[in-house]
Symmetry: D2
Subunit: 441 residues, 4 copies
């Protein structure tokens, strides 16, 4: 009999195969409960404390629903009709469930500092014989783990299965938009999932959408664009990431210089500080382990480490303003001023750009060509989305986002008149206008 | 200018006083981000990963809305008219925000094992001159921290302020029902907040409700009852709590016997193992610290500690069945059988009762007399809720919940025929029928 | 290929059989668009303007989902196993869709005045060879219309099919609770549909629920009780019904006396005034036809007819207060006072009781014994709901609702001091206290 | 004490002035309960049966919330500071409530056939001394009705008041997007109302938005665009409008020729057939009156009238396909074919374009220059929305929608092989491909 998990987004997650239940119960999958889906975003939207676990089961559920619809409405009759072969269901479901398995705590920042790679880790956890996940998959067949991994790596031969999990409108993106919207309490990521599922259909080269659903697809693209603008690129979350990055950088520097006290949770982090870690070391990491390190470091005798740890734990973000290509030249000057005000600018100042390509038509010359979204007309011919939607056209192929300069909020304080550094602050403020870096007047 | 926080339950949290903003930014309050509101409940309802931080700002927001309504509709004109004096607003708001400040990780279980007391801790954090929260409150007036603490302790002279925060229908309960409902993805805790707020009114002895809102209040009581039955008392969450409790008990035992390896995060836990801790030690604790200890203990050479740590981290709950007063006598026998099957029953078996009083009319002879809910009629006379609601009457003053027996799921396995312990399992199963302990046939 | 209707409650209504599509397109079914589901309730809750059409397709959709679940999880293997035979699907779906087909405008009141019977009308429309609905059903088989009608009349031999449509927890009640909740904008009727559907199961004598879903079923019963208390029994809607009833009574009286001007829409009403109508006359009626009559009557020279028509169209409800068995004896006196104040009390005063049995266990001695709700335990034994739910027990078998006295709001006016009738008003008010009729002091 | 109406969109509508309560109770306002907000759209989205009454109180409520925010955050201190003068509240609230007062049944189509004008009617009802609305407004001051009317006509001197009710982002549009979204059960019109209200602010020339809310405003514009594409321009609703239009046209033609039977509800329509109507005649009209006429006409001896009435009442839409400028030349040929197939093409064929300008920057040369949306930067300078939003830019100043050709669905029937008219159908189908009119191959 099927089992269900209660889920706020999909109401219920239906588990209909023993292998899925066993994967969920595996140690490496349960670990995803201890890693937040949106990292520092919960510092801006306090509701967004959901984990990668809940997103992963959500991606599974959407994939399951797609399989059901395909099996009901587009079952294959012969090998070359481009319709859905329901024998692919299990590999699709497993890949959907496990696609984020290799994520670590505060993934993006952690990887940047410690040179780890969550995609490689996902593959490793699936294919390494030492993991519980691998054992479960092995029970399906010895080659099954590799098959599942190949779907995630996009090398699996059936493009329908690959595109369910990775394309510009896949189960992954659909779940995270709805889920992040729900937990942040914003409405921007809300789109019409059931309508999209209804117009989705398999064809020889993957997945396409019935032309009658054009506006629903358009709405999804715009929702995605809006979520990036309003939630994922939020300056405060990015500021907390900047602090986190500098904090880890400082710890690494101190460790190299043998000045990091190794008490506390730090033991679990040592393999990454030395660059010499095992798969098991990686699996032992989670948000709580990092935060526990920070709690220990808060009492460190190194002032920079201690201050950055406190700023991160207690949510004291850096201030940020927009930076344009023509104002980047002022950054060194501003860095000087920050240094004059007594901050180690290497740790208290940074620039950060958040860019995303909201949608792109296929471009064989692009660095990372994407599968474009195509709509099927009544006569079975295809038309590319941006060719018929001016709204999508307007954001196609354009990176969108902004570059920002981060610095201590204290630099903008207006009550520094009697401060020793008063002229420094005054000078600094000349470069800031309407939340942007500007040429000083 | 007011600031807002985006919140999935109340849409926006409106912050209109500097003291509130400063309290939210205080280290001790930010720490609540790292403590889950519902502890082990997220093992059953994976969406319920929200923190005590988000609940606390929610309680603040409901209190703010009550103050607004009272100030608009029931402003006091003279000292004895029993109407609302808006000078009480700040103390009410601060008490609402801080009422859960002293909660630690997995509060209930932790307190039980380590003899801490979150209510005392709340008072200590508010009144101790070493905390940031205290400094912020001091700025209002030197006696203000004590005033805020007295509201939380229910000794504050104005009963309206006390009842806003603690009564059978207060801002605390109202927020957690709505919030826990939203994040679990169940609907049971949903009641009509705006209607309840509209019929709420101050009077001399506290807070009452207009008779026209009787059904809305009734609906709230029933919602609360349902949430206890369906969510808070869920056997799987309680099972995970049993494991947690045994895990901490084992660690304490090993520490006493000097057999607990003190590497890793354990340092932060030592003061509690020795029973000798400071306020700062307490503030350093959070869910992540405990989980990090468990990750370390997972590799312990003590098999019980290691196994229980894995069971907790990887969510392998004990099985449970209902236990009735007349079947409690079989527990020792079942304990013997579990021991015979190779388990240390002290760590692998337990009973646990979850009882709650959904509502009670005032009873001066009760151990803990509660403020009853009263409704005001057109002629200003009061009538007690259960006197006019048969639905509420049916659950008034009755504890509700169940007692359960927890044991290793393996005891029920049906595929043990060839097992050495096969007769033990067969015997054990004779005592279990329809998910209850029964007299063996 | 299946067709879908967009629906705010079920998201989509899935139409998978030509007969269902044809029934929806039939004239007699489309007519339900012009009849409000809740009659005068939209005078109290202005959002509740939804039609019987939308409710009917909703009942169909829930029935469809039940069939899907039964076919997936409980397919019959032999004739006597008490499981689901999916050949019953079509008759169940048609009965679900058509169960309210015979409702007329403002059903309850209209029937009372004109002695029509919507249940008989439903049967007639289904079985009469002159209707489009009958023609569509005939295409399935000549005996099919009668079969569908027998499900609605509860004489169909398969109790599972009958109970899907009519029992204490059927598709009809489930849809209207959710739908009326959504459109009124109240929350009281919200219960956990997907959970209930998951625990529903067929057995020999009909439909039962898995014991694990006890609290979900309990929640549904309480929701239903709450909707009756808060929405369906609302005094203002009942007051508008009183006016409507008196208005139709006056028209009938005038017609009998040959004093009703027969201009305007009245032609469509004449067959009912004479008591001599055809099925087609009945099908021609809808809310708009009645309202159009009232618009015409508003200009009538009969003052009572004209005033009541205006009161109904312009929403000027009568005032009402509660009436208890022991205060009924004062009604004649109050009637006298209303008459003295210049009102024809026959048209301006009334009593009305709204009572409902929220739930009942089976009682063979009851006038209308109901199928009770039973829960199936692990060992397949059944237990009746109120036996294990104190909450349900408290409202089982008890009628709930109140009796009210309706009279012109003007009787309570406090500014009548200089009015000719001043002593009458003063006298009247002595009988009214706390919104109830009381013994005068 | 304030009164409230329960509302599904805004939860509660707060009524805080006697004049607002009296206006709602006025006969001309109550009439809006009998006119659907979206006309024929409920034929496509069956949930969309809400009335202009509910929309009108919704527009009032949003305006009330804007006034509250302005009064709290931007109160004027001197006459020329461009801030909010709360003395304007009453006129703003009344204008908001009454802005749609003059709408008749199926407004757009009715006006087109009978040359009425709902904007003029709104003014007339407000300013004519014979209406209840006028009497209520007179009580505020003799010139007040005219003042309210001038806000609706956009001639009122305070641009803030005018723009609250009529601008590209006003209370009217905001309510209908949310409300129509809710009742249709689509999600497209959902935008972040509370965020928009928070960033709205008064300034000298009207209303502007804080730059920090740019994406929320952008989201609103896109939502609006989506609702037009997906809901308001839906081909089936437009097809039902085409039928309605032809039906009224036929009635008018028959009346002119003295061939329309004047029984039934038709009396109420006669003044419009003759073109000689009073304000009271207009106020007597509603959806039910028109539908009652159609029920009567359904039995007319004129076959065209009878058929069109049935098509409208029973929802038998014409089929439609897209028409491009370059394919318009085929319309006469297609008309011929329809005629050959036996239809009076004048009544059974039509083209219809639905175009809307989703947003426009101010263009003094435009026929109907619109107030553009401007955002206020930190230094108080303004920037026009499309200048900073590529998404909005992409739909700015471009009409969007499509032109369609409507014809009897039977023309596309594929089972006409043995039909007398078979060659006609074959020929017709050569012009239709991919739901468009095309050059025949």
């Amino acid at each position: 009999m099927e089992k269900v998990l209660r889920d706020p987004i999909h109401n219920h997650i239906y588990i209909q195969h023993q292998v899925i239940l066993d994967l969920i119960n595996a140690k490496e999958f349960q670990r995803l409960r201890r890693i937040k889906q949106l990292g520092t975003t919960s510092y801006t939207f306090h509701g967004a404390e959901h984990s990668r676990f809940s997103h992963s089961v959500g991606v599974y559920e959407i994939t399951r629903q797609i399989c059901d619809l395909f099996a009901r409405n587009y079952p294959t009759k012969d090998a070359h009709d481009g319709l859905w072969n329901d024998d692919e269901r299990i590999v699709a479901l497993c890949a959907a469930l496990l696609h984020d398995l290799g994520h670590g705590p505060y993934s993006h920042t952690f990887e940047h500092i410690f040179q780890t790679d969550h995609e490689q880790m996902t593959t490793d956890i699936i294919t390494s014989p030492e993991t519980e996940v691998n054992h479960v998959l092995q029970k399906v067949s010895p080659s099954f783990p590799q098959k599942v991994a190949s779907v995630i790596q996009k090398t699996y031969p059936n493009p329908q299965v690959v595109q369910m999990i990775s394309s510009q409108i896949d189960a992954d993106r659909m779940d995270y938009l709805l889920r992040d919207s729900y937990f942040t309490g914003t409405n921007y990521g809300n789109f019409d999932l059931t309508r999209i599922l209804r117009v989705m259909r398999p064809y020889k080269e993957g997945i396409t959408f019935d032309i009658s659903g054009m506006h629903a697809v358009e709405d999804y693209i715009v929702s995605r664009f809006q979520m990036y603008q309003q939630v994922y690129f939020h300056p405060v979350s990015r500021s907390m990431e900047v602090i986190l990055s500098h904090l880890l950088k400082r710890a690494k520097y101190l460790y190299t210089k043998n000045e990091l006290q190794l008490n506390g949770a730090t033991d679990l982090l040592v393999p990454f500080l030395t660059g010499n870690y095992t798969l098991n070391d990686y699996i032992n990491l989670d948000d709580g382990v990092l935060n526990t390190c920070f709690t220990v470091w808060r009492s460190s005798s190194d002032e920079v480490l201690s201050d950055l740890a406190s700023r991160f734990l207690d949510r004291h973000p850096l201030k940020s303003v927009r930076l344009a290509p023509e104002t980047k030249k002022f950054v060194p000057t501003l860095q000087d001023l920050v240094t004059q005000a007594g901050y180690l600018s290497e740790y208290y100042m940074d620039t950060n750009d958040s860019y995303d390509l909201p949608y792109d038509a296929y471009d064989p010359n692009s660095q990372k060509p994407r599968t474009q979204i195509e709509l099927m007309q009544k006569d079975q011919s295809l038309v590319e989305l941006s060719a018929i939607s001016p709204l999508v056209k307007s954001i196609t192929g354009k990176v969108s986002g902004d570059e920002r300069l981060f610095f201590p909020r204290e630099m903008l304080a207006s009550d520094k008149q009697n401060d020793l550094f008063s002229p420094v602050y005054t000078d600094f403020n000349r470069y800031i206008h309407n939340d942007q870096v500007v040429a000083p007047n």
